[in-house]
């Protein structure tokens, strides 16, 4: 971790811990240089008599380029005995081939197991070429992101970072759940372990994610002058400055100060990811009130019609409610039936500023999140590579892909004005225009799109 970079970068966090270069296990094989013209015949014959059963990732033939444009082919004859460096351990029919073609066999090393990352694969190929198959559970991004997708990832991560900052200078973790197919924010939340405001009960649940946008908008403007060092040290060892980040210090809740005192409940488990899951579930219940089997179409029609027929006062009251309805309208307009109700967070991504703790990471398994993006590692309690690695726990019934997003210094807040520019472009322009849209056009809400220009 911990490198400052000049540009945004997305790194896949693999299911297995990376093996340090040069420490990958190897096995010995017998190989020989061969004439290119006999390569086909030889490989076919060798695959029959000495198949590389447990080395399917290893290529049978190695092609070397020499100076002057010459190429040299070498082929694996068979496995060599581990404790025996002699060539006479060769099986009978392989020896016949060696004799027939007058090959001179030598012992060489190949990687024992298939590479689990591109880096490992590159390392393996220095010994002998292998093939590399990235995880095939069909999640976009593992094999790389398009320019457009990268920009979208960066925009949402920037949004999460903004959300993590607050007026009082305390940094917390923030979570943003996104439907990547329409680049729409489904829910967003901050840590609420010190101030869980239950006073406004249900209506606040319905609108909370959208109020957050406004909160974020205002606080980012007021913080421009004071927060430029807040996150700049986040990726250094100075983690002690982030005691408000609940996933970093999950066991410290009883020591933390209440803010503000008396007005709110507190809850040691209301980490940002859990609050965001709660908010997305509330949205789901609101948008798709019927059960999966019995779709309540009448409810949908009522909500689409009421604002246009109702009085202005009534319309105003319904505005925030309609914010939540836009996804439903989208689905209807898009020609899909309402029965396209999501199953939990299937297909959704979550952006977290800090790698989630074990509790949050497992909650995201339960909620069927498709991809997790986080900016900073969590050496204390991180469950996506730091302390545990839930994405690699085979027994779980769901697996998400995990990515780390490296932030350039200007996003975390440093001296230059780029930071301010970036912030303006997303929070002030896009969010303000989004809120404006909600206020003026309750019926045809355009989902918040954090586009590539952000």
């Amino acid at each position: 971790m911990n490198k400052h970079t000049d540009a945004w970068q997305i790194l896949h966090v693999p299911d297995k811990p990376p093996i340090p270069p040069g420490q990958q296990p190897t096995v010995n094989v017998l190989a020989s240089v061969i004439e290119p013209k006999i390569a086909n015949t030889l490989v076919r014959r060798l695959n029959q008599i000495a198949p590389l059963e447990n080395l399917r990732h290893v290529k049978r033939v190695q092609k070397k380029y020499h100076e002057g444009g010459k190429t040299q082919l070498a082929v694996i004859l068979c496995l060599a005995c581990e404790n025996d460096n002699q060539l006479d351990s060769m099986q009978h029919d392989v020896r016949e081939i060696v004799n027939a073609y007058q090959l001179s066999a030598f012992i060489t090393k190949v990687s024992k197991s298939a590479a689990s990352s591109k880096e490992e694969w590159e390392e393996q190929c220095k010994l002998w070429p292998t093939s590399y198959h990235p995880p095939t559970y069909n999640i976009d991004g593992i094999t790389g992101f398009s320019e457009e997708d990268s920009q979208s990832v960066f925009s949402f991560m920037r949004f999460a970072v903004e959300l993590a900052k607050s007026d009082d200078g305390l940094v917390v973790n923030a979570a943003v759940i996104v439907d990547p197919s329409v680049k729409q924010v489904i829910a967003s939340a901050r840590d609420e372990i010190c101030s869980w405001n239950t006073c406004n009960n249900k209506s606040s649940i319905q609108t909370s994610s959208f109020q957050r946008l406004e909160v974020c908008n205002t606080c980012s403007i007021s913080n421009v002058r004071t927060d430029d060092t807040l996150l700049s040290k986040a990726s250094t060892s100075e983690l002690g400055r982030f005691t408000g980040v609940s996933c970093l210090y999950p066991w410290r809740w009883s020591e933390q100060q209440l803010s503000p005192p008396n007005s709110c409940y507190w809850h040691p488990l209301r980490h940002a990811a859990l609050v965001a899951i709660e908010s997305s579930a509330a949205r789901d219940r609101l948008l798709f009130p019927g059960s999966r089997e019995i779709e309540d179409k009448s409810f949908d029609m009522e909500h689409i019609q009421s604002p246009s027929t109702g009085s202005p006062a009534k319309r105003k009251k319904l505005d925030m409610k309609n914010v939540e309805d836009h996804a439903k309208l989208d689905t209807l307009v898009g020609g899909n039936s309402v029965s396209a109700r999501p199953y939990l967070c299937t297909g959704y991504d979550i952006y977290l500023v800090w790698e989630p703790c074990t509790m949050c990471a497992m909650a995201l398994v339960h909620q069927r999140i498709r991809r997790i993006f986080y900016a900073f590692t969590n050496p204390n309690a991180g469950a996506l590579g730091s302390v545990h690695r839930l994405q690699g726990e085979k027994s779980l019934n769901h697996h998400y892909a995990v990515f780390r997003v490296l932030l350039p210094e200007e996003v975390m807040g440093n001296k230059n004005g780029l930071y301010l520019k970036a912030k303006n472009s997303i929070t002030q322009f896009e969010i303000r225009s989004f809120i404006q849209t909600i206020k003026t056009r309750p019926l045809y809400i355009i989902p918040l799109r954090l586009g590539r220009n952000a």
Binding site: S254, Y343, S395, N397
Partner: protein, 191 residues
């Protein structure tokens, strides 16, 4: 699997019986049947059951439900954070199925004293099956000065067969909330 009452005190069995009642309530509401009770000084002070289907929030496991009730009650009674932490450190949790990784991590964060569970959870268990979060993380304690994961005592196998048969009956009916390709499920605890 142990026969009922094999090695456990009448109190332990009685508390697990109450947890099973919660699990049955969940079953009747078409929820994955897992239930729990929280006990302080020999008295049940909270109970909870799975509500993942109703809430569409897959993190609403029995343990999380019970903890929410408790925290709200204590705060209404004006208890401070430190008082709550102290009370939690004396609490015992009885749950019909091994806490999943999420709940085990939550119980460690809260700092409960002991956890009694029925059947093991081979897919998601966080108290010995997949991870062993009840052991805490002593290695990290040594390496840094930061307070790290707290462990808790775990006792398993209390009325496990009752807990399993409830889960089995539920999954044999098919989980009505599961996405279509996954249905019907058998022997798969989603807890």
């Amino acid at each position: 699997m142990e026969s009922p009452g094999a090695d456990f005190s009448p109190d332990t069995l009685a508390f697990m019986e109450l947890a099973l009642e919660q699990a049955k309530l969940a079953f009747d509401s078409l929820e994955v049947p897992v239930g729990c009770v929280i006990v302080e000084d020999g008295k049940v002070i909270a109970s909870g059951r799975n509500r993942t289907t109703e809430t569409r929030n897959a993190s609403r496991h029995a343990e999380m439900e019970a903890v929410d009730v408790l925290l709200e009650d204590w705060q209404k009674n004006g208890l401070s954070k430190l008082e709550v932490a102290k009370k939690l450190s004396k609490c015992h949790l009885y749950v019909t199925c091994e806490p999943c990784i999420m709940c085990a991590a939550a119980l460690s964060i809260l700092g409960v004293k002991e956890v009694y569970y029925g059947c093991t959870n081979d897919k998601f268990g966080g108290c010995g099956s997949i991870l062993s979060l009840h052991l805490g993380c002593s290695e990290l304690l040594k390496s840094g000065g930061i307070p790290q994961g707290k462990g808790f005592k775990c006792i398993r196998g209390i009325m496990a067969s009752e807990a399993v048969s409830l889960l089995r009956t539920f999954y044999e009916q098919g989980n009505p909330n599961a996405p279509k390709p996954h249905r019907p499920l058998t022997h798969q605890a989603t807890h």
